[in-house]
């Protein structure tokens, strides 16, 4: 007798243990290509296998077990007209039409054109084996229990495909737990299990990002005798076994780590087992294999990429307009508001502290970090010559012009953010309020005089208060600025101010806000040194 490739070892065992009356294989199916076992799940009204793949024209032996307390059958149907979600509805219709005869006929409309093969009704605790040849036509062949009312929950799909499936009968089991190395999964109860019909290892079916494990089992097909090499990259630990022999051991807590191992394999099917766990942080499991005549074929859905950069999504203003990007901006904080101007100058505002946080020129921002996947972390500006302005409060009251400036806080309670107003060019004017003084903060881009030069940013601040303080100051910069003809410069930054005398007596560049009655106005120009 020829060797039967088996789906699971337990099938063979169960054949030995139970004294079963097997339906003898019909002519032409004495030798089969695959043995498939499907079981009902006790009191769940479900099959344990909801999908599997077979090749066209292959010969199948199907063992159907019913440990449930109700009778069930498994009827394989030919593909229906319905696209997706086909549950052999015409067969079910025919079952209803059997009416009172249904019970006697075991709820099976024998001879129905959509029936490909059937287990017959299997009583509780029993099992039946049947044989069939897979049709030559590729497609999805649903299977259902036709006992009235069951099909809606008891159904699955046999996918008939010519495609070479990397790992056949690939089953995954998900475990939850916190480990520093691979646990003995056989001692644990899986949280979830299922089949991956495309035959590629995939850890995305877990809904966690941390503290989980996977056990994958299936078979690979070796076309020749020879040396085979398996490559694993994983974060955290993983192991790969062939026919229960360890081939790659990549266990332990680690970031993305690559290992490989080789084994001599005979032509034919071999059991493959992959164990994996993730403790915290990033997660990854990538596998490929090489053998006689092929190199680095994928065994997983996720594969090594060149570099790890996310897809870039440049954000740019429309012609003549500004564009806003509110997000976690590196340098402007979690309440960052980036503004990009068509004049190729940009700024970022920190709404935790009501301060102008950065200016830069050239490209504005890249949305790739926040608009791919879950959007982790802070995104820095895209363009050039980023100038960081002082952290902490931008406005405060001081005893004297050279009193110490308050130590920066994560978020100020002194000033409240009140939003912004866009002009017809989509340019924002920010509004905030400090103890009854309303402040409007308007930024206007200034285009460069000629091409190749860099533009400027004009800022107009207006203050209004019924009872304004006499000792309110704005801090423009920190550290030693050089003064020349009313401009102040430090490294790349050049600042000029109109509407208030700039104080340089402290380590800061400060401007006192001088109210005339209820109002004060100030104009500042930021530019880059030549």
């Amino acid at each position: 007798m020829k060797f039967l490739p088996v789906l699971r070892l337990s099938v063979l065992l169960s054949l030995v243990v139970h004294s079963l009356v097997l339906a003898s294989p019909p002519q032409g199916l004495k030798e089969v290509d695959r043995v498939i076992t499907i079981s009902t799940l006790a009191s769940q009204m479900k099959y344990d296998v909801d999908s599997f793949s077979v090749k066209p024209n292959s010969r199948i032996k199907l063992v159907f077990k019913n440990p449930d307390s109700l009778p069930h059958n498994l009827i394989l149907c030919t593909p229906g007209k319905k696209k997706g979600g086909d549950k052999g509805e015409e067969v079910i219709d025919a079952v209803y039409k059997l009416g009172d005869k249904g019970v006697k006929m075991d709820w099976e409309p024998k001879g129905h054109p959509r029936i490909l093969a059937s287990s017959g009704m299997v009583p509780p605790g029993d099992e039946k084996t049947f044989y069939f040849k897979v049709p030559g036509v590729e497609g999805d062949y649903p299977y259902i229990c036709t006992f009235p009312g069951h099909y809606a929950l008891m159904n699955g799909v046999m996918s008939v495909t010519k495609k070479v499936i990397p790992i056949m009968n690939l089953k995954y089991r998900i475990y939850h737990g916190k480990w520093k190395k691979l646990p003995d999964f056989s001692e644990l109860k899986p949280k979830k299990e299922g089949f991956l019909t495309n035959g590629l290892i995939d850890i995305t079916r877990v809904e966690l990002t941390d503290r989980f494990g996977f056990l994958f089992t299936g078979q690979i097909q070796c076309k020749k005798d020879g040396n085979y090499t398996f490559n694993i990259s994983s974060d955290d630990g993983s192991q790969l076994l062939i026919d229960e022999q360890m081939v790659v051991d990549n266990d332990g807590l680690h970031g993305s780590g690559f290992k490989s191992g080789s084994v001599f394999l005979e032509k034919g099917e071999h059991e493959i087992e992959v164990r994996y766990f993730e403790a915290g942080g990033q997660e990854e499991l990538q596998l490929t294999w090489s053998g006689p005549g092929f190199k680095n074929k994928p065994l997983s859905k996720d594969l090594p990429k060149r570099g790890r950069a996310v897809k870039s999504i440049p954000i740019a203003p429309k012609k003549g307009e500004a564009i806003i990007y509110r997000n976690f901006i590196d340098g402007a904080g979690p309440r960052g508001i980036g503004v990009g101007y068509d004049e190729r100058v940009n700024l970022a505002f920190d709404a935790n502290n009501m301060r102008l946080a950065m200016i830069w020129h050239g490209d504005f921002m890249d949305g790739g970090r926040h608009w791919n996947n879950r959007g982790l972390g802070f995104q820095p500006p895209s363009g050039k010559d980023v100038i960081h302005l002082p952290k902490g409060l931008a406005f405060t009251t001081l005893a004297a012009g050279d009193s110490p400036w308050p130590v920066p806080e994560y978020r100020t309670e002194e000033i409240s953010f009140e939003g912004y107003v866009l002009d017809k060019f989509q340019r924002p004017t920010f509004n905030y309020n400090r103890d009854g003084v309303s402040i409007t903060d308007r930024f206007i881009p200034v285009a460069p005089l000629s091409e190749g030069q860099v533009g400027k940013i004009r800022r107009v601040l207006k203050f209004f208060g019924n009872d304004p303080p006499l000792n309110l100051y704005l801090r423009l910069g920190h550290g030693g600025f050089a003064q020349q003809n009313g401009t102040f410069s430090k490294d790349q930054l050049v600042i000029s101010a109109k509407g208030g005398g700039v104080l340089t007596s402290s380590p800061d560049l400060r401007v006192p806000i001088n109210f005339k009655g209820k109002k004060s106005e100030l104009e500042i120009v930021y530019s880059w040194a030549e």
Partner: protein, 476 residues
Amino acid sequence: MADDHAGELPVESDYYPITTLTLPEGEVIEVSGIDILPGNKVAISSRRGDIFVGEEVFGDEPKPKWTIFARGLHEVLGIAWKDGWLYVTQRPEVTRIKDQDGDGRADIFETVADDWGINGDYHEYAFGTRHDKNGDIWVILCLTGSAGADDKSPFRGWCMRVTPEGECIPTGYGIRSPGGIGFNHEGEVFYCDNQGLWNGSSALKHLRPGGFQGNPTGNKYFDLTDVLGPKPPEPVSGSRIEIERKRIPNLVPPPVVLPHGKVGNSPAGIECDETGGKFGPFQNQLFVSEQTHSKVSRVFLEKVNGYYQGAVFPFLEGFDSGNIVARFAKDGSMLTGGTNRGWGSWGKKRFALQRVNWTGKVPFEVHEMRVKPDGFVLTFTEAADPASLADIESYIIESYTYVYQKGYGSPEVDGTVPVITQATPGEGGKSVRLTIDGMVKGHVHELKMPGIYRSTTRQPLLHPVAYYTLNEIPSL
């Protein structure tokens, strides 16, 4: 020939077909909020922070025309139109925006309230409701990293009520990782919390003012406010909600557990059917979007001993992307939107806006499931075959609960098999009274009904399963 259709097996789309609405080409609109504007226009917000307004979204062959209303907001998770303003709940604040100059694009962006912290962690989401009857917007704040409560980001895990005056009133706490928020027909506020730490299974929860939703991580912020009284005692890890609620009176048991893996994996938005029958027979029931399974579930709630509780039923699946929000429109159709960015979904599109209409045909479903001291009463949308109702073999029931623990999620535990001793059909087969031995307080009661048939067509229930969360048992 006459009864040709009698035996045909119904599918969900016979009653509730899904129509995909086209979105402007070249735009990525991961729909995260939907509201209806005057003139039957539809506003949709996106995770990228854009707001579009569409016309001609309704009708048999909708050809929506979209215009951009606003860009550059920070991960909008809730929009609400009121008195000429669009109120937007975005990650850092509730903002109201308006098109003052009438060019179709918003120009005023006014901060209404921002009295909570964010620290740069993507998980620090803020979901907002529409306005309640007082004009307040309820905002729920996901924990830092869905597991922590950073000092820089106060009130993670809390519910804040934002008043029209911009006051931010702490209203509830104990939240883990919400997926959406909404009202029932009485204006009470519910939200969905996802399975995780201190949350054995995802569940629909009731934001009783002052109520503790179960995850104590954010309770440290009791140091910052006394509006809700003193900090409650810590729950004991490894216990059960049913046990801990006796120790912690403010602990609100989840009205409807959405059994993890069965009903879904990531419940999101909540929308109440107040269409007055335009959407079918489920007036005042809640529709819960489910992101992972790309579907919408249906929830029936009743109030027992002062607490909301009830059952969840499958409703409609097969949406294009991961469902995040739903909104009923004036014509009684339900607009649904979602995305699978960051968290996979069964529907494989990256984002989608779709519409569900009722065909006018009544599906054969369990309509309501109400608890009795010794069982349940189920009503049906259509008459069931009384013989099938009376046969106790038509039902399979089991009960289970989850460990209430610091660790992530829980398996189903403490499983029991209550016994249905009697099934008494009501008049005309429109209801059945189940008498049950061994109901367990605090447990989900999972009831399958494979043997029930519609009297006219002998078809089974469209969805022969219900999950009732039994926190309270009435005395009468």
